[in-house]
Amino acid sequence: MEFFPRVVFYLKFLDYKVPITETVVVTWCVMVILMVFSYFAGKSVGKEEGTLQKVCAVFYEAMEEVLNETMGETASTYIPYIGTLLAFLLLSNLSGLFGVRPPTADLSTTLVLAFITFFLIQKESIGRKGLLGYIKSFFEPSPALFPLNVIGSFSTPVSMAFRLFGNILGGLIIMNLVYSALPLFVPVPLHFYFDIFAGILQAFIFVMLTAVFIATAD
């Protein structure tokens, strides 16, 4: 039963027992890895350039180039968030290689990330049209279409969340089936496809969709 993440332990809080799932544990591991990496990479700022700082600089310049092409002048505002998102998604999707359950194979993680994108889209939209124009855009072309407009704007984050979740969970379930049927040698090339190729591709697609939706918000 790999559809739901395993509960690792319960956290006692007053009278409640809060279940801590594998998703939460792996998410914290990814966060710790990213923070430790950033700490050591940022140590050499202003001094002689360290190796880690060079790695980060290459990553940042690649992000800057791609985002300048897709987002235009708004790119500089969003490079920190989108870069962090890409780093987090890459590590999360690749964590399947270490035998743990990727945090992105949980709908909670992907829905939260997609709703951050949703709020950024609304914020950009309000910034470009003003609050009144933003409210008015829901009643266009006719007030009768208000429910459809609301559903339309909510379908963006939901489809983004389901896309990432479905791809990663689908790969996880297929890998589990293969492991239970043919546990020797056969899963190795499949890891290349489901974990490395699909993981990197889906992280890239989530990030690019975020950038495109924010850039085209109106």
Binding site: F3, S159, F162, I205, M208, L209, V212
Partner: protein, 88 residues
């Protein structure tokens, strides 16, 4: 012949439904194939624009994939988190 109880019947038809839901993947497969073919044509015509073409192709494929992903989610829910059994 033993009588079939309701839960077994629901589980059996849920499994069938999960299989049938994945028929929705058919359209996505055809659509992505057409998109990839057009991208190959575009690269053949303009090899210098390969990077842009690949990026557009991947983004378009990701959006086109949505319907197949919804089918997959429905199939997974029918198999792993069946809401119909609880109605019994």
């Amino acid at each position: 012949m033993p009588a079939i109880d309701g839960k077994a019947l629901i589980l059996a038809f849920s499994a069938l439904g999960a299989g049938m839901a994945m028929i929705g993947g058919l359209g996505t497969g055809i659509g992505q194939g057409i998109a990839a073919g057009k991208a190959a044509e575009a690269v053949a015509r303009q090899p210098e624009a390969q990077g842009d073409i690949i990026r557009t192709l991947l983004l378009g494929d990701a959006v086109a994939e949505t319907s197949a992903i919804y089918c997959l989610i429905i199939a997974l829910i029918l198999i792993f988190a069946n809401p119909l059994v609880r109605l019994l």
